[in-house]
């Protein structure tokens, strides 16, 4: 809500109720749910960290310092406050690398989910609305994608086109659209039988207008819920691919990449592989909490079910 609205609202008591309500309503709903609040705070913090990485990271994430190789975290013998979470085999600061790594993880997670959402919602709307042979063909396409595990499909495409951030976003987008398509198709199948759609049809509203004006707005809430949860799984998938060496390539820092580096030093320096994994887990946990809360709020049918 903009400050201008607040000013207008302050002048007129009635408008206060009208204008300030949505924000307050959402805040109140959020505070009612413990996990929702925790999830929101985690996600907010991670986004803030990734946006301000430049200023809050204590060191250059790529700065190699042979004198500080494999320093343990600060609370252990030999650790220093200068490197709170220790350093890696090249003397790079782990905390700074994790902070910078959040940028790539979030960026890839969010953009690829948007891409998947656009493809999936489009196909789901078309498939559900037109039905018949179009639906049949598109659903066989969905079946085909479901038969190949995401990670396998991603591996094949990354092998052929070579790993890069853009390829990775496209790959994750192209592998994840299926869940949107199925969900949107299912919703459209039931929505299109409802009175308001029949009414629109009977007065001769064109098909694409029905899809855009009547069907699309009704699938938005499911879209938001599934997108949030999708970001969580995509972050894990990206980390897995980077771990396998086919995701984000050095010198760009990614959580999966730091983890992969740390694997070779497991016997001597446990912190290398531990901290990035903890970071991924906490981030994904926050997103799941936020997504579950959104589902409860946006879709009353599923409340308390899981």
């Amino acid at each position: 809500m903009s400050s201008a609205q607040v000013n207008v609202a302050a002048e007129n008591g009635e408008i206060i109720n009208k204008e300030a309500k949505p924000f307050l309503k959402w805040a109140r709903l959020l505070l009612k749910s413990k996990t929702g609040t925790v999830g929101f705070l985690i996600v907010f913090l991670i986004v803030l960290v990734s946006l301000t990485a430049k200023w809050i990271a204590p060191h250059d994430p790529a700065a190699i310092n042979p004198a500080n190789m494999l320093l343990p975290p600060f609370w252990m013998d030999g650790g220093t406050a200068a490197h709170l979470l220790g350093t890696d085999n090249l003397g790079r600061d782990i905390l700074s690398r994790i902070i910078y790594g959040s940028q790539v993880s979030l960026m890839v997670g969010v953009t690829s989910v948007i891409l998947a959402g656009i493809i999936g919602v489009f196909i789901g709307l078309i498939s559900g609305f037109y039905g018949g042979i179009i639906d049949n063909i598109l659903m066989r396409l969905v079946d085909s994608f479901l038969a190949i595990p995401n990670i396998l499909f991603a591996l094949v495409i990354l092998t052929i086109f070579g790993p890069s951030v853009i390829t990775l976003i496209v790959v994750l987008g192209v592998t994840n659209w299926v869940s949107y398509a199925r969900l949107v198709r299912g919703e459209v199948l039931s929505i299109k039988e409802r009175e308001f759609v029949k009414a629109a049809r009977s007065i001769g509203v064109k098909n694409n207008k029905i899809i855009l004006r009547h069907l699309l707005p009704n699938v938005i809430s499911s879209f938001i819920v599934i997108s949030t949860l999708s970001v969580a799984t995509t972050i894990i998938l990206e980390a897995s691919l980077s771990f396998l060496g086919l995701g984000i390539q050095p010198p760009t820092v990614s959580w999966g990449g730091i983890l992969s580096d740390g694997r070779d030093y497991l016997a001597t320096s446990w912190w290398l592989a531990t901290f990035p994994g903890v970071t991924i887990t906490i981030t994904v946990l926050g997103i799941i909490f936020l997504g579950d809360w959104l589902r409860d709020v946006l879709d009353p049918h599923s409340q308390g079910r899981s």
Binding site: R140, A147, I148, F153, L155, S240, W270, P276, L285, S306
Partner: protein
């Protein structure tokens, strides 16, 4: 039933065709293998001759047609790394992956069934919170990272289990737990919500009101029925399980499909990559078919149309 089964089997044909088309197109786009096969100073004529000999000068659809004919004969091409047909190499690794997947499923079942029932019958108890909380954390943890942490704790620090490889039962424990906990997380949530649904049904209330002991209500009346969605959704998880196995195998150097695939990907051994994709896709399709039929067998209320 038989009619339905036949129709479902026939439905897999277009799916397999679409998969083969996607894979073929991707490999086609990937470029000319001839450039890799000939020395750099090969003449234009040599390149053309080899392309002709391999049939690469033919139109896209003609090439795809002969590709499909080869696939039907189980011919995915030669692996240049092993100098032999790709399919037997892949099938050779399949038992190891299946062994891991089955062990992981067992781990998942052992964890999730008691936990799911327990948390559903004692809703909002501290155990329920622990179970649901554990399930969420299990879902949030990257599988491969859990594997690394288990190696760190049980192999490196305590020395109880071997770090990697396959052979004894001890080798199987950590990979199975790694892959199994991820599945268990999903299954616990499923069993819990399925049980909660069933416990609210009229027949369960009737059984309770007749004075039947809670234990029998839960196990005889509720649990059996709650298994219907659980069993089928579990079978539908095959794709996730196999996907997870691919990474778990890499972490533990488990000599299955996953390890073979990653090696093939790194050496660009496309014949093996393609054979892997098809074998896994067929496995997933068969399991989905199985899940569908099982669902109908377990629940006679479902009609076959």
């Amino acid at each position: 039933m038989v009619k339905y089964f036949i129709r479902r089997v026939l439905q897999t044909i277009p799916v397999l065709l679409i998969i083969s088309f996607i894979i073929f197109s991707l490999v086609f786009v990937a470029g000319d293998p001839v450039a890799l096969m000939l020395p750099e100073d090969a003449s234009f004529e040599d390149v053309e001759n080899l392309r002709e000999a391999l049939g690469l000068d033919r139109p896209f659809l003609v090439q795809y047609g002969s590709y499909v004919v080869n696939l039907l004969q189980g011919d995915f091409g030669e692996s240049f790394r092993f100098n032999q047909s790709a399919l037997p190499i892949v099938l050779d690794r399949l038992p190891a992956t299946i062994e891991l997947a089955v062990a992981a499923m067992l781990v998942a079942i052992v964890i999730s069934i008691p936990l799911g029932i327990w948390s559903a019958t004692k809703r909002n108890s501290s155990l329920d919170l622990l179970a649901t909380g554990g399930a969420v954390i299990g879902k949030a943890m990257p599988n491969f990272w859990l594997g690394i942490m288990l190696i760190l704790l049980f192999s490196v620090t305590l020395g109880w289990f071997p770090v990697s490889g396959r052979g004894t039962m001890l080798h199987l424990v950590l990979p199975a737990i790694t892959l199994g906990t991820g599945i268990a997380a999903e299954m616990t949530r499923l069993i819990r919500s399925s049980m909660i649904d069933i416990l609210n049904q009229d027949y369960v209330r009737t059984a309770k009101s007749k004075g039947i002991h809670d234990f029998f209500v839960v196990y005889k009346h509720a649990f059996r029925n709650s298994l219907i969605p659980v069993v089928t959704i579990t079978a539908l998880q095959t794709s996730t399980v196999v996907g997870g196995a691919l990474i778990t195998e890499t972490v533990f150097s488990w000599p299955g499909l996953g390890q073979l695939l990653i090696q093939a990907v790194n050496t660009r051994d496309m014949a093996v990559v393609q054979a892997c994709v098809f074998v896994i896709a067929i496995l997933v399709i068969l399991m989905n078919l199985f899940a569908d039929l099982l669902y109908r067998l377990l629940d006679p209320r479902i009609k076959y149309n």
